[in-house]
Point group: C2
Chain length 356, copies 2
């Protein structure tokens, strides 16, 4: 038994090799830590043979600098924080993927926080990360935050000089870079498309106009109706927050005679479609559908849903690019910062739920 322990320990000692540090290399090669550091950076200061010796040794023992130590010294972490309300929704997933892809290509890692629609968790997450863990934030505001209109946690962060990029669900109240899609314009186009195909009583299914995106989409919807000589019937605008159940869609459809629906997300569209089908109406002849978010749901719906591609991947890439630019160009006290808001063009993907 004693014997066995001994064997196991030796085994572990062999297996479990600690990460090697500059100090280890310095000791082993009988040079100073600074020499090792410089040699590994191929500094001109260090002689040829010393460099070769150090580099060979480092390679042999698979030396990699400790990220934390480098971060502490250099005051940047090569991490970016992403705070989103949700991750299961196709749109956010694709944005996240876009961010991760670009960030990774620039040597950054992505820390993901899901606010789950909660103001409090949004605040907590940002506070956790703002204490040195990240170089900047990319975020989409949660619904609760938009409702409260309390953006102090964002201002806090920007005041500390931490770059912030807002996307999708944004606010004018905090000055930072932003990336959005042309919601109003594309909603306008979508509604106009349905009008052109002969639709007259067009409903809007929204998840709440406190979201800037929804507000913009609603504006586009209204303008399209008015521009085409159709008045806006306020009864045809259904607001249904995310967390509420969708039963009111039933009653809405029964109460209102409509011939087209624009939905701000694919879930509402798909849900409404299934009810409409059960009511025995034909899609798109009796009712046309267009939904925001060109996700799997839209692609595989029956009939396939005409939808508005938000180009989440692209948004993510752009957001990450803006953020990393901001992070890497050091802040100049002399110069007034000017923030950009990038707008990505959404595209209407025509499928079977609308008449061409």
């Amino acid at each position: 038994m004693k014997q066995l322990h001994w064997i196991i320990n030796v085994f572990k000692k062999i297996q479990l090799r600690r990460k090697i540090t500059l100090k280890d290399i310095a000791r082993e090669l009988e040079v100073s830590i600074s020499t090792v550091s410089k040699a590994l950076k191929n500094s001109e200061e260090i002689g040829r043979d010393t460099k070769e010796k150090v580099q060979a040794f480092a390679k042999l023992y698979n030396y990699k600098p400790n990220n934390i130590a480098v971060s502490l010294k250099n005051k940047h972490t090569k991490n970016i924080g992403v705070v989103v309300p949700d991750i299961v929704h196709y749109f956010f997933t694709t944005v996240f993927r876009g961010i991760e892809k670009y960030a990774n290509s620039k040597g950054y890692n992505v820390i993901a926080c899901i606010s789950d629609g909660s103001f409090h968790k949004e605040v907590i997450s940002m506070e956790m990360l703002a204490n040195g863990s990240i170089d900047g934030f990319i975020m989409a505001l949660s619904s609760e935050t938009q409702l409260k209109g309390d953006y102090n946690h964002l201002k806090e962060v920007t005041n500390q000089g931490i770059p912030l990029v807002l996307f999708d669900s944004i606010t004018e109240e905090v000055q930072c870079d932003k990336v959005v899609i042309n919601d109003e314009q594309v909603a306008f186009q979508a509604v106009e498309k349905m009008i052109k195909s002969g639709k007259k009583r067009i409903a809007l299914f929204s998840s709440g106009s406190f979201y800037t995106v929804n507000k913009n989409r609603e504006n586009g919807y209204r303008k399209a109706l008015i521009n085409n000589g159709l008045g806006v019937d306020e009864n045809l605008i259904l607001e249904l927050p995310h967390d509420e159940n969708m039963d009111s869609i039933d009653s809405f459809l029964e109460a209102n005679k409509i011939d087209a629906i624009l939905a701000v997300n694919e879930i509402m569209a798909i849900h409404a479609m299934s009810i409409v089908r059960k009511m025995g109406l034909r899609i798109p002849e009796d009712i046309s559908f267009i939904g925001f978010t060109n996700g799997l749901l839209s692609q595989y719906a029956v009939p396939r849903l005409t939808s508005i591609a938000q180009h989440g991947d692209r948004m993510g890439e752009v957001a990450a690019e803006m953020l990393i630019d901001r992070v890497e160009t050091e802040y100049d006290e002399e110069q007034v910062e000017v923030f950009r808001t990038e707008v990505i063009d959404a595209a209407i993907i025509e499928r079977e739920s609308t008449i061409n």
Copy 2:
């Protein structure tokens, strides 16, 4: 102009307040850094009034310790790395959400890396994070890694003493904690269910048997057929890797007369369902469907897809719990590590694509 610059600078100086450090507090209060540090931790060593003074000052100036410095000192980062092949798929998304939720409740942040099915990116990601950025890994193997059978990057990491939890797509070759579902058993049940409803020619749609999960599901499928006196017709097993297009499903369905399909993911199931519908066959009367992954696609399909809930959230939570346990109970040289593999029970959610 000079005047303007001056105004702007003053404005910025006021706005942009640097994060306060222990040193700042110490200087201001004319005590030592160590005293401040201890006072903030409510150490018994420090006198009542000094503690109060320091704590009040810290609160006033909103002092928060620098995470990076703490990490460097304490040798743990409170970050965990999650490496998954994909993030748009419902299953991975829910697992991720589960991980994030549990991790956050324990004060950990989650760094997400998407390997995108690539062995190389998996390796790169792990190397980036293994240099001190994280305390442990949770990961699902990419398809390429499973294909190559090269797990050196995982062994590398565990050899360095970094805890690792594998989920979903795992391997026996590396010793670590694991969490999976009872794939074989639930596949068995699913197939048997279809047999009981009178189905005889049951196909399996798989995305490649190099995935351990798919292999297990296939085993369950085979056993169910054999157990019920139906032989296994190898022609009825269709293997279609993720990245290939799904056209071969068409030809498969034309070539083989079948009356039920078990698909290892919902996409294949939904895709097959749409083809079957176009062929004019009835679901579930002519062909029944069961798909793994109880995602939105399954819920909103027409007809709604009977599916196998993998309980991604739960898997994520369990994985995170196992990892954090491992991280926080310090490693004991004397004691042999014993790894657990937790198995979560999957559930068959009956809907309209099968006969009850």
